[in-house]
């Protein structure tokens, strides 16, 4: 169900795409985590997977682009303008570990709808519909924190999608989940992607990357080394680091 | 929802407070007096008689003599009733009070454990008793709080020629507490103590302690009453304050004081001067 844009603040706020990072640098405790990185998200309809060994800076880059961290140098823009709170609901974020509010599953969704400015009368209906689409309606009234890990993460994704974001960042969403939940999450992502939502995905699961990615960005030591279509990357990676990574070798 | 509940709760509380404050605004005065007088039960007996006659409620703040005088100097009371003649006269001469009136007297008694290590039981000479206590270095619990009782005690030690300050912390223990607390402690440490008769009569935690020395004229304890000076503290309730002073000094009041008994015995002896 798409609610008419005129009835909610959601459609009225302007777009956030493309999400652009220019010459981003981020340091913590004397270490440079992100080193003069240029990145652009939300241009193509396919899922963009960001791959790389631990410590490559992937999560930090997502957080910089989502406005959660401030770069030490460089800038982040959403549709050419600085990130701002009013448009924040157009960017979704799913963390590695789901952060559930101490209330029922449906109340979690109602909360984000309220934050996004959806009128009170509509919130319940929209929330129910969202849960129904993800086949989570039967746990609607359950306290979110007593759900299983898989259910919580599915709920987190449903919650992120409830405000009809233009771009959703997924930071290793299934690394702690069983195959069943992983499959459910991937299915939700594919459906939303087909409906027009853009996705940026960090994953350590190469199978998942192959299943979902249309494009791959490979990062290493705070820099983007490759940015290629997925097929090209998996068949013939352009850099030795990427090649080692795909072979499962430890990349320093 | 929770926010609404809290606001409602607070509003009710504040309303309740406001209402109860309004209700309490019948005529009342604050009388600063001592714990020993209050603990004897005199006020609970006496004041309802006054309130019935005049409709004025008397609120007693019972603290140590020093604190009562200080409170009165701060204007936090309308009438002062204590038993420390020297301090009362100073209060008047420094302009804090209008006029000091002699009100009543009772006496102090020396109490101690039945086993009486200093062998003072049955004596009629308070000074001799104190000399013997000092000589034996028997434990003595002093109020040590600059109260009327404490100052009377110090005068007696002085007359006995004993320098208690130098013995403080050994057999002579300065407690810095009110009469009741001092008695509790004295009983706990098997010590002698000086106490006004009325407090002792009303005291319930005696263990083996009893009155050992009494009747010496030097144990006489004079009470005075005075109005706090409205010239210094304009908010003093002069009319009502004077009303209770007048009543206590009148024949009715003096008779009422005399009629207060504990275990059938008169505790206070009215001696106002006409």
């Amino acid at each position: 169900m798409q609610y008419a844009p005129a009835q909610s603040k959601l459609g009225a706020a302007s777009s956030v795409l493309p999400v652009v990072g220019r010459s981003l640098t981020y340091k913590r405790d004397m270490r440079t985590i992100i080193d003069h990185v240029d990145a652009k998200f939300g241009c193509s309809r396919g899922v963009v997977a960001v791959l790389g060994p631990n410590g490559a800076g992937k999560s930090v880059m997502f957080r910089l682009l989502a406005g959660l961290l401030t770069p030490d140098c460089g800038s982040v823009t959403w549709a050419g303008l600085e990130p701002d709170r009013l448009r924040a609901h157009k960017i979704g974020f799913v963390f590695q570990r789901p952060v559930m509010l101490r209330r029922s599953a449906i109340a979690n969704i109602v909360y984000v709808l309220a934050a996004a400015g959806v009128p009170a009368k509509m919130r319940d209906e929209v929330a129910r519909h969202a849960l129904e689409q993800a086949r989570l309606l039967d746990i609607a009234k359950t306290p979110a924190r007593s759900l299983s890990g898989g259910e919580q993460q599915r709920l987190a994704l449903v919650r992120a999608l409830a405000t009809q974001p233009e771009l959703v960042f997924l930071d290793e969403p299934t690394s702690n989940l069983d195959p069943g939940s992983t499959a459910a999450i991937e299915c939700l992502v594919q459906r939303a992607r087909d409906a027009g939502t853009r996705f940026a995905l960090i994953t350590q699961d190469m199978g998942q990357a192959r299943r979902l990615a249309a494009e791959v960005i490979f990062m290493h030591r705070g820099r983007i080394l490759e940015c290629t279509p997925a097929e090209t990357f998996f068949c013939a990676p352009g850099t030795p680091e990427a090649a080692s990574y795909l072979e499962g070798k430890i990349v320093f | 929802m929770m926010r609404n509940a809290r606001v409602f709760f607070l509003a009710t509380m504040l309303l309740g407070m406001a209402v109860s404050q309004v209700r309490a605004e019948n005529a009342f005065i604050v009388l600063q007096s001592t714990t020993s007088t209050e603990n004897s039960g005199l006020f609970s007996y006496l004041l309802p008689l006054f309130t019935k006659k005049t409709g004025i409620e008397v609120r007693i703040v019972a603290v140590g003599t020093g604190q009562a005088i200080k409170n009165a100097m701060n204007g936090d009371g309308d009438v002062l009733l204590v038993h420390d003649t020297a301090a009362e006269q100073k209060f008047i001469s420094e302009g804090w009070g209008v006029e000091r009136h002699q009100l009543m007297y009772n006496d102090f008694v020396l109490v101690g454990p039945s086993r009486d290590p200093a062998r003072i039981a049955g004596g009629k000479d308070a000074i001799a008793a104190l000399e013997m206590i000092a000589h034996r270095k028997a434990p003595f619990a002093s109020r040590g709080d600059d109260s009327g009782t404490h100052k009377a005690e110090l005068r007696l030690w002085k007359e006995a020629g004993v320098d208690v300050k130098s013995e403080s912390g050994t057999w002579y223990r300065e407690l810095g507490q009110g009469m009741g607390a001092t008695l509790n402690t004295a009983i706990g440490m098997d010590a002698y103590a000086l106490v006004d008769r009325a407090t002792w009569s009303a005291f319930k935690n005696r263990a083996s302690h009893r009155v050992l020395v009494e009747g010496d004229r030097r144990l006489f304890n004079q009470y005075g009453i005075m109005l706090v000076n409205p010239a210094k503290h304009p908010r003093v309730k002069q009319r009502e304050g004077q009303a209770i002073i007048d009543w206590l000094l009148s024949r009715d009041g003096q008779n009422a004081l005399a009629s207060f008994k504990i275990a059938g015995e008169q505790q206070f002896f009215p001696n106002s001067q006409p």
């Binding site: 957080r63 989502a66 406005g67 959660l68 709170r85 009013l86 448009r87 924040a88 609901h89 960017i91 979704g92 974020f93 963390f95 952060v99 509010l101 101490r102 909360y111 984000v112 934050a115 996004a116 009234k141 306290p143 924190r145 007593s146 | 929770m2 809290r6 709760f9 607070l10 509380m13 309740g16 407070m17 404050q21 309490a24 604050v30 714990t35 603990n39 609970s44 609120r59 007693i60 703040v61 019972a62 603290v63 409170n71 100097m73 701060n74 204007g75 936090d76 009110g178 009469m179 009741g180 607390a181 008695l183 509790n184 009303a202 005291f203 319930k204 935690n205 005696r206 503290h233 908010r235």
Partner: protein, 234 residues
């Protein structure tokens, strides 16, 4: 030991006969302490939460200061409030010394740091958990604070209970600013102090037992209310 058994019988007798003096002092104790807790909550909860969420210069100093104030001796608070409200003090014209209002003020001052400090710690811990999620939803500082307060409602309720416990049990402050005036400002604790000074230890202990029972019942009510609002354990 005799005093102790006599204390229990005295306590039961007083409760059983619904002794009017007892009801009066219990009523006053509850009125004073509950009002003080309400004030402490209104001031301490939002302030503690804002300090937890906010970032400003001198924040660490403020936190250290508030934590230290938890150790304020009740009698010192009583003395300070007395000096403020005395006829020779700056607020003498209000004429609230020796009234329950003065007692409420003194207790509120005493327990607000407790509520504030515990709130701050609770909210700060929650912030660690929720910070990124709330910010990515575009929540501003005030909205985050409100959400965190709701999220931490159980711990915050405990903070209020801690404040109540401190208030209902203290005697130093209410004794000085209230004056322990019979039928006006006599609470459970000042009554216990009075009976002790009269040497009536079993009555004092009896009142103490009643006070403890009161605190126990108050906590039990809160726990029951919590249980009924929670369908299952989180």
């Amino acid at each position: 030991m005799q005093d102790l058994t006599h204390a229990f019988t005295t306590a039961f007798q007083l409760i059983g006969s619904l002794d009017p003096v007892l009801i009066e002092i219990v009523g006053l104790s509850l009125k004073v302490s509950l009002t003080a807790v309400a004030i402490a909550g209104l001031i301490g909860l939002p302030t503690g939460a804002l300090i937890a969420v906010g970032r400003f210069r001198g924040r660490t100093a403020a936190i250290t200061f508030i934590n230290a104030l938890m150790g304020l001796p009740a009698v010192v608070v009583g003395l300070l409030v007395y000096m403020l409200l005395s006829n020779s003090g700056p607020l003498g014209a209000l004429q609230i010394l020796y009234t329950p209002t003065a007692m409420i003020i003194a207790q509120a001052i005493l327990i607000t740091p407790i509520v504030m400090a515990l709130t701050r710690q609770t909210i700060e811990d929650l912030k660690v958990e929720y910070d990124e999620q709330l910010r990515v939803l575009g929540r501003g500082a005030l909205q985050q604070t409100a959400t965190l307060i709701w999220e931490g409602r159980h711990s915050l309720l405990t903070a209020l209970l801690a404040g109540f416990g401190r208030a209902i049990a203290e005697v130093g402050a209410v004794l000085i600013v209230g004056g322990n005036i019979n039928h006006v400002t006599r609470t459970m604790t000042t009554a216990i102090a009075l009976e002790t000074s009269k040497g009536d230890l079993s009555l004092a202990l009896g009142l103490g037992i009643i006070l403890l029972t009161l605190a126990f019942v108050a906590n039990a009510i809160v726990m029951a209310a919590r249980a009924s609002s929670q369908p299952s354990y989180v």
